[in-house]
């Protein structure tokens, strides 16, 4: 069986080291790059992200990676966004004003209602049948955010209750986003990350 190569999109934002370690532990080959030639040699791309929306999308644009990711999506190649990386998939965010996102998944990113923060471990509940998330339904993962995706229900795969419910996993074809950090969610996170990477390659 061919060893899967995961391309971590390096746009100067995000915690690449943790993601890379976890992927290596899972036996997956990793390349971290902002070079489309390198990323094109990967089976699936992972878009990490920690921080605020605006500087992140600006960093992607500054490296022309926004156009590259759109082009990959046109070619129906798989992409996984984590935390801020999931939010960047949306059409826009209202964090610190209005900012356009990649627009790969219809919907916008809005502030969570009071108490505004969602920091810690919470469960995900599957609201659409999806084999990628089936085994992880009801399990706890680590979240750290104050904004969340809001969009059509057809793209929402899992939801999480933080006082009010929000979409904690979204999907459009071979593009998946998770609001939590599977790489920092211990055994449950590793199992889901493997399922997502392998499943997206097979999808």
């Amino acid at each position: 069986m061919k060893k899967i190569t995961v391309g971590i999109v390096d746009y100067g934002v995000g915690n690449h080291a943790s993601v890379r370690h976890t992927l290596n532990e899972l036996g997956l080959r990793c390349r971290t790059s902002d070079d489309p030639v390198v990323l094109d040699g990967c089976d699936v791309l992972l878009l990490p992200g920690v921080g605020a929306f605006r500087p992140a999308i600006e960093a992607l644009r500054a490296r022309a990676l926004d156009r590259y990711l759109l082009d990959r999506a046109d070619r129906n190649l798989p992409l996984l966004g984590i935390c801020l990386g999931m939010q960047l998939l949306a059409q826009a965010s209202h964090e610190d004003g209005f900012t356009h996102g990649l627009g790969l998944v219809p919907g916008e990113v809005v502030e969570l209602p009071a108490p505004h923060w969602h920091i810690g471990w919470n469960t995900i509940e599957q609201v659409q049948v999806d084999p990628l998330f089936h085994e992880s339904d009801g399990q706890s993962f680590y979240f750290n955010h104050s904004y969340a995706y809001r969009g059509p229900i057809e793209f929402q795969i899992c939801r999480t209750n933080a006082g009010e419910e929000f979409a904690s996993a979204i999907r459009r074809d071979r593009i998946v986003g998770v609001q939590f950090h599977p790489e920092k969610s211990q055994a449950a996170g590793r199992a889901l990350l493997r399922q997502l990477i392998v499943g997206l390659c097979d999808a």
Binding site: S18, V50, G51, A52, G120, S146, K184
Partner: protein
Amino acid sequence: MLKKRLVGVITVRDGWAVQSFGYRRYLPLGHPEKLAENLDRWGADEILVLCIDRTRRNVGPDFDLLRRLGSLGLSTPLAFGGGIRTVAEAGAIIQSGAERVCIDAALRDAGVVGGISALVGAQAIIGVLPLSFDGAGLQRLDYLSGRSTPLTAADLSLFDRRVVSEALIVDWRHEGMTAAFDFNLIRRFPAPDVPLIAFGGVSEADQLKMLFDDDRVAAVGIGNSLSYREHAVQMLKRQAGGTSIRAARFVSDSR
């Protein structure tokens, strides 16, 4: 629902994990990365590494230690603090493998904290407040001068404006002691909407339960006693957590 967190706190001085007693006396424990590795294996909900000498020495964050921690491939969220003076230093900490930064002395510089917040997001910032209760009100300790002054509205403005997400309430007088946390620090904390992490003198399940029962408490930090008691993470979670905390796990659970 969001679970409350049991946080393993590693206090570091001169690059070594130490048991601290009120931040005045210290005993060496060993390599910080060994403690972090164990907390990760044992299922702590978060690991918080505090380098307590970096701010006083004005030498910036201990990036060597952070690199060593990063090389472990921890699968538990990591918060890292001590010595952060600039936006760039905070950004570099996040880039190096920590999910969150702990800001202590720099909390008094709203410009720096605002810049950090804009770069990494307020959810990634924990504000450190070393407090004591003098019978009349809360006092905030200034690490650099060693003096305590009344906690003021100005001390809390960054929390109120949501530039910083959580407050680490350090009971510095009881830190390193058994079952000694002063609950006045939580009960009398004047900003009810700020999520609190209680730390210092928490070691027993009944304390933990009382803290978790308080709506304002999002997490409880435990230092040495979490690392040096048999299956302390599992025991405390089982005895104190109820449904408010993520269930205790054993490595064998995932096999």
